[in-house]
């Protein structure tokens, strides 16, 4: 039997997808800027970030209303409580995007961001975020696990960026004064990867991969 509650959950999924796609918009704008395709979309990021915050509040209100009125149990309870945690991570990713957008104007050339590997790093983050939202909407544990595994790729990319930046400074590279900014961008990207992995862990929570959700939820760092 399909219930009215099912269509309310549908609304939740649609809102989560919408919030995810807004986040992807900001990430794609960053990707363009970091890979030399142009910085013109950076200016829009602050606006999108505000839209993400709005979605965050809207989804939180929807979840609270569902908890109050539907008193969900079992899978419904797991889904809604995970959604409430996920919107926090998505919102943080949006904030990190704004942080990065504020630093990019101080970088003189895309050659530098590409040399440090930031262009491919943001590609990884985009894949992770998209994958996590997809996994949530389709109850796909395999996809969620793939996202968690990809966090290692993001971590290694950060180590690589750090190494490149260290080398720039050590060799007295002419662009060495931009090294701190490059490192900060890399760090924000690495944080985004962590939040995306955390998104995927909330999905596993909704799916109850532990088999004892209430006493033993999946650990989310």
């Amino acid at each position: 039997m399909r219930t009215r509650f099912d269509s309310e959950l549908e609304t939740l999924y649609v809102s989560m997808i919408k919030m995810g796609s807004l986040t992807e918009d900001t990430l794609n704008a960053l990707k363009a800027a970091l890979s030399g395709e142009g910085r013109d979309r950076l200016a829009g990021i602050a606006d999108i970030s505000r839209a993400i915050d709005e979605k965050d509040r809207e989804i939180e209100a929807l979840c609270l209303r569902l908890l109050l009125r539907r008193q969900p149990v079992a899978r419904d309870l797991r889904t809604i409580s995970s959604a409430m945690k996920m919107i926090y991570d998505i919102e943080r990713i949006g904030d990190n995007a704004v942080d990065i957008a504020e630093i990019i104007p101080f970088i003189s050339s895309e050659d530098l961001t590409m040399r440090v590997g930031l262009d491919s790093m943001i590609g990884t983050v985009i894949e992770m975020v998209t994958g996590a939202i997809d996994a949530f909407v389709h109850y796909d544990a395999g996809k969620a696990n793939a996202v968690i595994a990809e966090d290692d790729v993001a971590d290694r990319a950060f180590d690589h960026a750090k190494q490149m930046v260290t080398d720039m400074i050590r060799h007295g590279d002419k662009d060495a004064q931009e090294a701190p900014d490059l490192l900060m961008i890399a760090k924000y990207l690495e944080r985004m990867g962590d939040h995306a992995a955390s998104l995927a862990r909330w999905v596993l929570n909704a799916l109850d991969v532990s088999g004892d959700w209430i006493n033993n939820p999946v650990k989310v760092e």
């Binding site: 399909r2 099912d6 008193q71 149990v73 309870l77 959700w213």
Partner: protein, 250 residues
């Protein structure tokens, strides 16, 4: 400790099998909820536990019900004695047409207790235990039928408690009550369960969640899942349980 255990319990009404191979162990001094769609056999199961089905024409039972390790169907079991130990509270409050006092004294009197002092003591204690004493202490000699529905239900609980049972079977005891009376019965059940074992049939999932330690899900005469209440309502093992508790059944 297990107080009641059923082993491969089958029950037929004529040719219709209403219970199929029920294996449940119920913990002493805890609350067990029985949930499931209408007609799945919850009341039948409950009535079997103190042999109330003996009275029904055409009932055939196989398997065992062990009460404190002893099969209640064994010929040496005294059915009346069993019903004193395993009492029943019904869906609709059913006070006798007599005074509040006499309703409660009825059981102990048939037990042979005649002393007025002793009966007074039993009546007061049962009313206190059923959280009804303060509301009725000035009208003990008045008819029980003058009580509100919620008070009548607590009176029936007091009446059941007066014979000092070990187990209380409750069949949808709050389904005819308003939310406040319901809350009182739930509070009462929770306060009694450190001294009594309570087995309650309910159609109210939130009620099971609020008060029961363990929950059994019945479907078509079978127990599909029996586990800690939190497990049943957070991550049940069987998809049929999940469908039922989330309201997507059928």
């Amino acid at each position: 400790m297990t107080i009641i255990e059923t082993k491969d319990l089958d029950l037929w009404y004529g040719s219709m099998q209403a219970l199929k191979k029920i294996n449940l162990k119920m913990e002493e001094k805890s609350i067990t909820a029985l949930i499931g769609p209408s007609g799945c056999g919850k009341s039948t199961f409950l009535r079997t536990l103190n042999r109330m089905n003996d009275l029904v024409q055409g009932v055939r039972i196989e398997g065992e019900v062990l009460y404190n390790g002893e099969n209640i169907f064994s010929p040496k079991v005294d059915v009346n004695g069993l019903r004193y130990e395993v009492g029943m509270v019904f869906q609709k409050p059913n006070p006798f047409m007599m005074s509040i006092y006499d309703n409660i004294a009825y059981g102990p009197r048939t037990h042979g207790i005649k002393s007025k002092v002793k009966l007074d003591e039993i009546v007061e204690k049962a009313l206190v235990d059923a959280s009804l004493f303060d509301e009725v202490k000035d009208r003990l000699r008045k008819s029980a039928l003058g009580l509100s529905g919620g008070q009548q239900q607590r009176l029936c609980i007091a009446r059941a408690l007066a014979v000092q049972p070990k187990v209380l079977l409750m069949d949808e005891p709050t389904s005819a009550l308003d939310p406040i009376s319901t809350a009182k019965i739930e509070e009462l059940a929770m306060s009694l369960c450190d001294r009594y074992t309570i087995i309650i049939v309910t159609h109210n999932m939130q009620q099971a969640l609020r008060i029961a330690h363990k929950t059994a899900f019945f479907l078509l005469g079978e127990v599909i899942e029996y586990d800690d209440t939190e497990k049943i309502f957070s991550n049940p093992s069987d998809p049929r349980t999940e469908d039922y508790v989330t309201g997507r059944f059928g």
